[in-house]
């Protein structure tokens, strides 16, 4: 049982900025053999317990706030050492236990067949009727996804090491050329749609070939991203423009992190002025609770928040119409976020959230359009970047 939280898997990916070729294949083979070994080890432990009349258990590190540690020094979230035991002879866990076994077996099949499956594909691979009943092994994909996340932490293997990928989410465009599974992609020539960021962006899949960009601007959603692309913001300011479709997926976060650490590009975020936007920034910057074990690979402690800010209502002279009143839930959430240890110590953020609560309303990035169609691309962001007016 892997008691380590996020160690081995993350390391293997981050280190390999090197090129493709035979070395890569050998490394993948070695990685697969390791993952396969972990799965067999898990199965052995269960069958040994079963045959010796001990209760079969699977140890699973707890992915909850209680087991998340704020690493003040590195300014990222880490997963703690606490783990729970998934027991077969426990009414509320028996089914998940069975599902864990099913998925372990499926993953072993994938590794041996050298294929990958989407999360949805995994759901279907494990799906059948439990023998002798009318019950399905998985009621829906959510059940399947949760079990796969459990397996990741339990085996201490990353999703891609398990040969699983999520659906594509997020877009990139800008002054960079990359190689994606051998195909060279010039992100300057991606038209209006942009390059769709895949779920797995590890060095063995994507390599950076040529980068002229000086920074990355990450925006919350594709509507805003479209505005920036149409105005050729990335050309004018020599940058990379990305979007994550709301809460960015692991692929997007990993790509941003690689751009940041490997190419040294600063990451600027343009998000809504609401608790949701603040939380997205928090996840990009220090990692999330549920993926705390991957923070090493995903968190970008240097990310900056350029807007939208609470003060912008007054500073930019926005009209009353852009105000969206905070509801009870928003207020509650805002207070929760303000209480996160990494925000508690940050005066700027305390002020920011305070002001939003005082205002009593939230604002979307699009609210800047009320000033002018291209206000956000031509005035707002350039001004802020020049003035280094951001929150970090």
């Amino acid at each position: 049982m892997a008691k380590k939280t996020s160690g081995s898997g993350g390391g293997s990916g981050a280190g390999g900025a090197g090129g493709a070729g035979g070395g890569m294949t050998a490394r993948i083979k070695e990685r697969d053999a390791r993952t396969r070994g972990k799965i067999v080890e898990l199965a052995d432990r269960i069958s040994t317990s079963a045959l010796s009349m001990r209760e079969p258990k699977i140890e699973i590190p707890i992915r909850a706030k209680s087991n998340t540690i704020w690493d003040r020094k590195r300014r990222v979230l880490r997963m703690g050492d606490a783990s729970s035991e998934r027991e077969l002879f426990n009414l509320s866990q028996a089914k998940q236990f069975m599902q864990t076994c099913l998925h372990s077996s499926s993953i072993k099949d994938l590794i041996e067949a050298e294929k990958t499956l989407s999360l949805r594909g995994m759901f279907y691979k494990g799906l059948h009727t439990v023998a002798g009943t009318k019950e399905k092994t998985f009621a829906d994909q959510d059940e399947s996804d949760a079990v796969l996340e459990d397996l990741e932490v339990s085996l201490g293997a990353l999703r891609e090491e398990l040969h699983i990928f999520a659906k594509k989410k997020g877009t990139m465009i800008g002054n960079i050329t990359i190689v994606d599974t051998g195909d060279e992609i010039d992100c300057r020539r991606m038209g209006s749609g942009g390059y769709a960021i895949p779920s797995i962006v590890e060095p063995d899949v994507i390599q950076f070939k040529k980068c002229d960009a000086k920074f990355v601007l990450h925006v919350e959603k594709d509507t805003v991203w479209g505005r920036f692309n149409e105005d050729k913001f990335w050309q004018k300011h020599n940058c990379i423009l990305t979007e994550g479709g709301g809460q960015p997926s692991r692929g997007v976060r990993r790509l941003l992190q690689r751009l940041n650490t490997e190419l040294g590009l600063p990451i600027y975020c343009l998000l809504d002025c609401d608790p949701w936007g603040h939380y997205i920034f928090s996840v990009i910057k220090q990692g999330s609770i549920s993926l705390a074990f991957e923070s090493n690979r995903l968190a970008i402690p240097e990310a900056k928040f350029v807007g939208v800010r609470s003060k912008d209502y007054a500073e930019c002279g926005l009209s009353d119409d852009v105000q969206i009143a905070l509801n009870d839930n928003d207020t509650k959430r805002a207070k929760e976020i303000a209480a996160y240890p990494w925000f508690v110590e940050h005066k700027g953020w305390q002020k920011e959230i305070d002001l939003m609560l005082k205002n009593g309303f939230k604002m979307e990035v699009e609210s800047l359009i009320t000033k002018d169609i291209s206000y956000v691309t031509e005035t707002y962001v350039p001004q802020r970047l020049r003035a280094k007016d951001w929150l970090d």
Partner: protein
Amino acid sequence: MTRVAERPSAEGETKVSGKKTAARATAESMAAKQRDISVSEFFAKNRHLLGFDNPRKALLTTVKEAVDNSLDACEEAGILPDITVVIEDLQPDRGREVKQSRYRITVVDNGPGIVRKQVENVFGRLLFGSKFHRLKMSRGQQGIGISAAGMYGLITTGKPMLIQTRPRADQPAHHIELAMNTKTNRAEVTVDEETEDFPLARLKGLTAGTRELAQRGEFLAAGAYPTGTSVTVELEGRYQKGRGSVDEFLELTAIANPHARITFVPPSRESAAEDETLLAGAGRGRGSADETPGVTAEPESPAQTTETGGVVVFPRGVAELPPETKEIQPHPKGIELGILIQMLKDYEAAEKGGTLYKFLQERFCRVSSSTASEFCQTIKATARTKVSDLEPAQAEALFRAFQEAKLAPPPTDCLAPIGVRQLLAGMLKGVKAEFYAASSREPEVYRGRPFQIEAAIAFGGDLPKDESARVIRFANRVPLLFQQSACSSFKSVTETNWRNYDLQQPRESLPVGPLVIMIHMASVWVPFTSESKEAIADYDEVRKEMKLALMECGRKLGTYLKKRAKMKREAERRDVFQKYIGEISKALSAINGSDASRLYEALLAQAKKRTAIADQRLDDEGKRIKDEDPADQDGVIIVAPTPAEGPAGVPPGGMPGGVLSKAEAARLKVASLAKDDEPALLDVRETPRAGRGKAKAGDPPSSKSKPEASGPAHGAKPRMRLVDGKLVRVDEPGLF
């Protein structure tokens, strides 16, 4: 005799006063009209008092009176009752819409018979009988019943009653036809001859069922009636099944009289379609030929009701008669002043010059010589004071002294309760349920009369789940079918808080659920609310005892239900585990190549161990029986729990095979309850069942290990345990 003066009412007088010379009654003219009313005449007009309110009830009452008499006679003579009830429809071709018909009812028993000269008195007079004047536990009390039935038949059809009786085995039977003269309260005999045709051979050929049974020697076999009586009454009636029917009466009688064998030949058709089968009993038989018991004194068969070609046979469940009951003298506290005065007169008449001192000791129970002299002193009399010398005031003083005196309660050896074991045997025979409990209270006293209350409940199984509980009431082993809500027993049921025992119960009404509640009152004098003996009067002492008996049963049920719920939960848990174990074994085997079936077995063993409570056997209190101490307590039978739904569960409702094996298992438990001082239960014998051959082959091993019982089950306590929701006998060789 009832003396009723017929007088014109005062109101009538004032109304006619306006008319001149209207025939005003004079004392003389009135006197001319005043005369005795014969009791027969009185009841002919007030037939509802005797239970002849309507044609349907008339039919039932006739059967009931005849059967009660037969059972009483058999028991007094020490004969195991074998009673046959035949109802013939004499107008089988009547139109559909005709509600009633003419029926001929014949009840044949193997009792002691009746000596010739008493026949007219027994069957032709009201208020003639041996039972009224004594304090002894018996079914009949007043001596009205059968004569009233004959009278009703005479009134409605004009046909006399036909009596055949053979009091001596070596002589031919008497064949007497008699009609009652209601005016004189005397029977008029129209036919009086000797006959060898007893029991009536004609009855054997009535239906296909009777022919079949007769051929096997199981229906009115001549040899089985060395003595006996057969009564035939023709009357206008209505035959209908359902509540308050002959079927129900016989079925309940069979429950309360497991020592009797009762055969019932119902009429060819019902009067109106009103189909309602209450207990699963009548007509539930499996129609299998080889199960019908023999008619010999020691039949060997499982006590299950059977049906052959429409003939229902309630077999004998226990082979010994209830203990003979003693007649007792009245208790001083149990009489009224008028009765005391009458008793004094009677004593004087019987013992010329008898003393009060002797009277007190001889005519009452619990009066010793010292108490007798105390009573004499209290009313200022001496030990030598003659009864005839007593002043009326002294009699009254004596009555008061009775009330104040401290006396031992009346003896209770005059009571013959059914007994816990027989109650269970009866319930098991008549009610298909899952849980049975019975309790027998200690004797108590009301108005100086000893009585004893017994209760039994049956729960679950095939009983309807969403209906009010069914209350079946008995007094001295006689089922009470009418006026339920007027009955003390009914009140005791509604006053008992069944919610305490995990049952639903709307306020002040019967509990709701698959429940049958049986209450029996045994007493030397059951306080009926009316002559038709339909409800027990509401004495506090009686009701209190009833409630205590019910609570005792209820507690057992409550514990059982709680335990059962827990077992069910555990069984469900096990099902969950079992469900996934197969998948897990396969997946693990696919990963590390271990043996899937070995894994499966190992995990299954763990699952069973962890849900072991589902396998536990429950004792009567619903507590877990430890394997080293199978101390079964009396009073409870658990046939099987409701099988948990699930892959391993028994099919809902139970397959015939399952039900049978459960029932057999339960009978084994009844047998095991046998005690030395109680009559032995019939041997339980593995009976071959027609049409079950196929099912047999596929039966689980548990049913193969069913005992081939051949000897008595004395002291044997077969151990039962629940395995996968089925009751399986833990085999102990040498038991049988």
